[in-house]
Amino acid sequence: MYFDYLNVFLFASVGFIFVFANVLIGSLIRPKRKHPEGLEVYECGEEAIGETWIKFDIRYYTVALVYVIFAVEIAFLFPWAIVLTDAMAGTGAAEGAGIGLFALVEGLMFIAILFLGLWYVWAKGDLDWVLAYSSKEFEGNAPGSAGKLGQSVEELKAASEAEAEESDDSDEAA
C-alpha cells in the first residue's frame, strides 16, 4: 500500500478530539459572570440597533463582481507584462523561442475581450447605480420589523428600545 491510512485516521481523530477537548476545558475553568452587557454583540462601544437579519443592498454585489473581473485581469497581465520585454527582445528565458509578437497579440486580444465585456455591461446599463427600490418589495421579506427600507435610524432605535422595555416588564412580572 502506498497509502498509510492509519496516519490519516490518527490525524483526523486528534484534530477532532482537540476541538472538543478545548471547548470542554474552557467551559469548566472559565469564570461565569452573567451581565446583560456581556451578552451584547459589541460589549464595549456601539449599541446594536435592530436585528442582524436585514436585506443588504445588492448594488454592492455588482460593484464587487466588476471589481473581481478586473482584479483577475491584472493578475493575468502582470506576469505577461514582465516577461513581454524578454519575449519581444528574444532575451532571457525566451531566447530563441520567437514568441514575441505572438505573446503581444495574445495579450492584446485578452484585453480586447475584457473591454468588450465592459462595453457591453456599460451600454446595457448594468453598471448604473440603482437609486431606489420601492419599499414595497422589501416588506414581508425581512423577518421582524427591523431592516425595512424607509425607516430612519431614529425610528429603528425607538423601536428596539420599546422592545427592550417590553421584555423588562415581562421579566418583572415573572
Binding site: M1, I99, F102, L116, Y120, A123
Partner: protein, 494 residues
C-alpha cells in the same frame, strides 16, 4: 512563431465559435435593440460555417494540439451534433413568443459559449481540459436557465442548477484528484498504458495494490458524468430546471448538454478501458465498471418512466422522459464494447430528431396557449393538425415503435445488450418501454381524442415547417437508418 500558430489550425472551429460569440455581443450593441432577429441570423450563419469546417474533417487522421486537445472523428461527430442542435435551438429562440428580446445578445453569447465548452469536453483525453470544458458548459447553462430573471420559476431553476452543479463538479474534481494522486498523470491514455512497475505506478499497479481508492475515484468521477446526463441518483435537478428554464434553453440542456455528458463518458471509458495499449488488468476492471453502469441504467430508466406517469406539466413529463432515455443510452455504454458505444451514439442521433421535435412542439404550444399543462392540450390536434401529427410521430419514436428512428435506435441498444449477455437489463428496458407507452400516449389522446376548447391558434408557418422536417427525418431515418449508422461507425474508428 509558426510553432505557436500551427496548432491553432486544429482549433479552427473553437476559435470561430469564440469569434461568433463575441460577434453576437457586438452586433447586439450595434443594433441597439432595433432588430434583435439579426443577431439570431448571424448566429445561424456562424454555426453553418463551423459545420462546414467540421464536415470537411470527417475521415481525417487524428491529430493533437497543445498536448491536450485531440482532434478525431469521435470528437467531430459530437461537435457536429452540438452545432446542429444549437442551430435548431437558435431557430427556437427566434420563434419563441415568450422571449422579450431584451439582452438578446447575451442569449446567443451564452449558447455559443456553452458550445465551446462542449467542443473542448469532447476533444480531449486529458482530465483537466475535460473538467474545464465541463465547467464552461455548466456556467453558461446556469446563466441560461435563469435567463428570464424576473420569473420566479426561472430564477429557482438557475439556483437549483447551480447548487447541484457546483456540488457534483466538486465531487468529480475530488475523484480526478484521487486518480491523479494514484497514477501521477491526468492523461487517460497514459494512465491506462502504464505497466505499474515504475513510479508513477499507473492504474494497473494501483488496481492490484490499492483497489479501494481506485474504486472510490471511479465512482466519484462517474458521478460527474451522471450529473450531466441526469442519471439517477444525480437527476434531482432535471425536472425543476427543465420546467423553469426558457423552453429553448431546456431543449439545449436536454439535447446538446446531455450529448456532451454521453460523449465525455464514452471518451473516458473508451480511453481508459478499450484503448489499444491498455493493460489487461485495467481492461478487466472496465467490465466491472460496466456492471455498475448497468445497474444505474436499470434504476434510471425505471425511475424516469414511473415518475413521468404522474406529471401534469408537459415540460416536466419530457424531463422525466429524458431521464429515462439516459438510462436506455447507458445500456450501450454498459456493454463496454465498441459495438455498444456505436449503438449509444446512434441512439443519441435518434434522440436528436425526436427530442428536438418534442420540445419544439412544447415551445409552439406554450407560445400559443401560454401554458404547458397537459390538460390544456385538449383537442389541440384539431386546431393545429400539422404540428400535432408531427408530435405524435415524435412520441411514437420516443416510445420506440416502428417505423421511426427511435425504434431502430432501441433495437440496436437491445441487440448489443443481449450480445453482451445482459439479459436482465434488456428485460427491464423492454418493460420500461411498455410503461412509457402509457404516458406518451396520454399526450396523443389529449391531442386528438378530446373535444377542443373554443378559440383558435395563431400560426407560425416557418416554425411548423421546421417541426414537419424533423418529423419527416424521424420516419425517413427510421426506414433507412444505414446512412446514420455508417456515419456513426466511421466516427467511432478512433
Amino acid at each position: 512563431m509558426d510553432a505557436y500558430i500551427e496548432p491553432l489550425k486544429a482549433l479552427a472551429p473553437e476559435l470561430l465559435l469564440t469569434a461568433a460569440a463575441l460577434g453576437a455581443l457586438v452586433l447586439d450593441l450595434l443594433m441597439r435593440g432595433r432588430d434583435s432577429r439579426f443577431v439570431g441570423y448571424f448566429t445561424l450563419v456562424s454555426l453553418a460555417i463551423v459545420a462546414i469546417i467540421l464536415m470537411n474533417r470527417i475521415g481525417d487522421e487524428p491529430t493533437a494540439a497543445f498536448g491536450m486537445v485531440v482532434v478525431d472523428n469521435f470528437g467531430t461527430f459530437f461537435k457536429l451534433f452540438t452545432v446542429a442542435s444549437l442551430a435548431v435551438v437558435t431557430i427556437f429562440v427566434l420563434s419563441d413568443r415568450n422571449e422579450s428580446h431584451h439582452h438578446i445578445g447575451e442569449y446567443y453569447f451564452l449558447l455559443l459559449g456553452a458550445a465551446i465548452g462542449i467542443f473542448f469536453m469532447v476533444s480531449t483525453n486529458h482530465l483537466l481540459l475535460l473538467m474545464l470544458g465541463l465547467e464552461l458548459l455548466s456556467l453558461a447553462s446556469y446563466a441560461l436557465a435563469g435567463f428570464h430573471k424576473g420569473e420566479r420559476k426561472s430564477a429557482e431553476a438557475a439556483m437549483k442548477y447551480v447548487v447541484f452543479g457546483g456540488l457534483s463538479a466538486g465531487v468529480m474534481l475530488y475523484g480526478i484528484s484521487l486518480l491523479y494522486g494514484l497514477t501521477g498523470t491526468l492523461d487517460l491514455v497514459e494512465m491506462a498504458k502504464s505497466t505499474g512497475e515504475a513510479m508513477p505506478a499507473g492504474l494497473a499497479g494501483q488496481l492490484t495494490t490499492s483497489a479501494v481508492p481506485v474504486a472510490l475515484a471511479m465512482v466519484l468521477v462517474l458521478a460527474g458524468f451522471a450529473y450531466k446526463m441526469s442519471v439517477v441518483p444525480f437527476h434531482f435537478w432535471t425536472p425543476d430546471v427543465y420546467e423553469g428554464a426558457p423552453t429553448p434553453v431546456t431543449t439545449f440542456l436536454a439535447v446538446a448538454s446531455k450529448a456532451a455528458g454521453v460523449a465525455a463518458l464514452l471518451r473516458f471509458l473508451g480511453a481508459l478501458f478499450l484503448g489499444p495499449d491498455v493493460q489487461s488488468v485495467v481492461a478487466e476492471y472496465g467490465a466491472s465498471v460496466g456492471q455498475l453502469l448497468a445497474i444505474l441504467a436499470a434504476v434510471t430508466m425505471t425511475l424516469g418512466n414511473l415518475s413521468a406517469m404522474r406529471q401534469t406539466s408537459l415540460k416536466r413529463l419530457l424531463a422525466y422522459s429524458s431521464i429515462a432515455h439516459a438510462g436506455y443510452i447507458l445500456i450501450g455504454v454498459a456493454t463496454m464494447t465498441g459495438a455498444g458505444f456505436e449503438a449509444a451514439m446512434f441512439y443519441m442521433a435518434a434522440y436528436y430528431f425526436m427530442n428536438l421535435g418534442a420540445f419544439g412542439f412544447v415551445l409552439y404550444f406554450e407560445g400559443t396557449l401560454g401554458s404547458d399543462s397537459i390538460e390544456a392540450l385538449k383537442g389541440y390536434g384539431f386546431k393545429a393538425p400539422l404540428i400535432s401529427i408531427a408530435m405524435v410521430t415524435f412520441l411514437v419514436s420516443l416510445t420506440g415503435l416502428p417505423p421511426t428512428i427511435g425504434f431502430y435506435g432501441k433495437y440496436l441498444l437491445f441487440k448489443e445488450g443481449l450480445d453482451a449477455g445482459m439479459y436482465w437489463l434488456v428485460g427491464v428496458a423492454a418493460l420500461n418501454s411498455v410503461v412509457s407507452l402509457f404516458y406518451y400516449f396520454r399526450i396523443a389522446k389529449m391531442l386528438f381524442l378530446k373535444e377542443p376548447a373554443s378559440g383558435s391558434v395563431p400560426r407560425q408557418p416557418l416554425f411548423a415547417g421546421l417541426l414537419a422536417v424533423l418529423c419527416v427525418l424521424t420516419i425517413y431515418f427510421g426506414l433507412l437508418p444505414d446512412a446514420i449508422q455508417e456515419f456513426v461507425r466511421n466516427c467511432l474508428l478512433i
